[in-house]
Symmetry: C2
Subunit: 212 residues, 2 copies
């Protein structure tokens, strides 16, 4: 049985199913998650999954959409009105992204695994993901390239900037277990403390790597 969020407001059957599905799909992927697992985890009758969501695939696509929104959307949308420098954006993203990942540690593996096959070779990437990616290009890449022209930043392909920023933020979460073993970290608390440290260090590191 899934616990209710506040102990006050019960979740509807439909929401209970979706939440359980999101947790399982995100943790174990589409194939490894069985409809009966979802039913059990949400404490509902198996048939209700199809009653509310038609099929396992439809339910997965719903979860997928929400996860991509969480993974790509949350941050960029905060830029809309603010007028931030490239450095400020880096700091902002590092800060908020790491906070988000601390609460959704399985998100990166999930998105990475299921975005791989998405855009069919040859055809343009579409849908919500592609749109977000366009925004990221606009907000980061163009800023950096402007900085290169001004002579502030080293003249490297912006892919390196993007890769390094995202790699520094996300990678620890995709490899938590391995990383903890390697670095002699024994518990989750210590891991989280180090992640909080990174929020401040990543902007400094990016600066050190790319500033002239």
């Amino acid at each position: 049985m899934l616990k209710t969020k506040k102990g006050e407001q019960e979740l509807s059957t439909e929401e209970r199913i979706k939440e359980a599905a999101k947790k399982l799909f995100t943790q174990k992927g589409f194939e490894a998650t069985k409809t009966r697992d979802i039913a059990e985890a949400s404490g509902i009758n198996l048939a209700l999954l199809n009653y509310y969501f038609r099929s396992k695939k439809k339910l997965f696509e719903l979860v997928m959409k929400e996860n991509i929104q969480l993974f790509l959307g949350v941050i960029v949308e905060h830029f809309e009105n603010k007028n931030l420098s490239f450095e400020e954006k880096v700091a902002f993203v590092a800060d908020h992204y790491i906070d988000m990942l601390l609460e959704n540690p399985d998100l990166p593996s999930f998105v990475q695994q299921h975005i791989k096959t998405r855009p069919a070779p040859g055809e343009e990437a579409k849908g919500p993901a592609a749109q977000k990616i366009q925004l990221i290009r606009k907000y980061f890449i163009e800023d950096f390239e402007a900085g290169v022209k001004k002579g502030i930043y080293k003249d490297v392909h912006p892919m390196h900037v993007m890769a390094n920023l995202m790699g520094l933020i996300i990678w620890p979460f995709t490899s938590t277990t391995m990383l903890m073993a390697k670095a002699g970290i024994s518990n989750r608390k210590e891991f989280e403390k180090l992640m909080h440290q990174r929020k401040k260090m990543i902007p400094i590191w990016i600066k050190a790597m790319f500033e002239k």
Copy 2:
């Protein structure tokens, strides 16, 4: 049918199955790979999978072992006799690791996904993976910590060093599609060219981040 490596030396049935299984398991994971997929991809009769490997699970564990060896083992073993400085090790690892990943681009996602559940909470990590990780600690972490004592490197938790090094090397491969979309890279060739660039840049970046 699986192509033979050289057109000269045919692979044995057993090897054909294992190679096909490795490719599929690495690409799609355990659950998403069906025994019939493996049979078809290797051009063998379905029953031969069980004849040679007893079960799908046993076959998977074999592939898993080889993949972990590839992912963690290859590099560290080259250190045995050489006497390299920390910086030289970083350069060496970046170079060889990226080469290896260019040939096995699906490896990181696979290992990350399947290593997560491995060490049961509370009990010590054992097996070949744990051993390799000990070597990595020995060869990198201790070196870095010595550098900190000498005042060469900034006094940060070695986890950050490990995370940044591995993140810079591996992350682009776990998010190739997304990264290419973000940075406006259109084809694999261009991606590979950029990865070769990184082999030289990563040591410089690590230096910039951690040297006093």
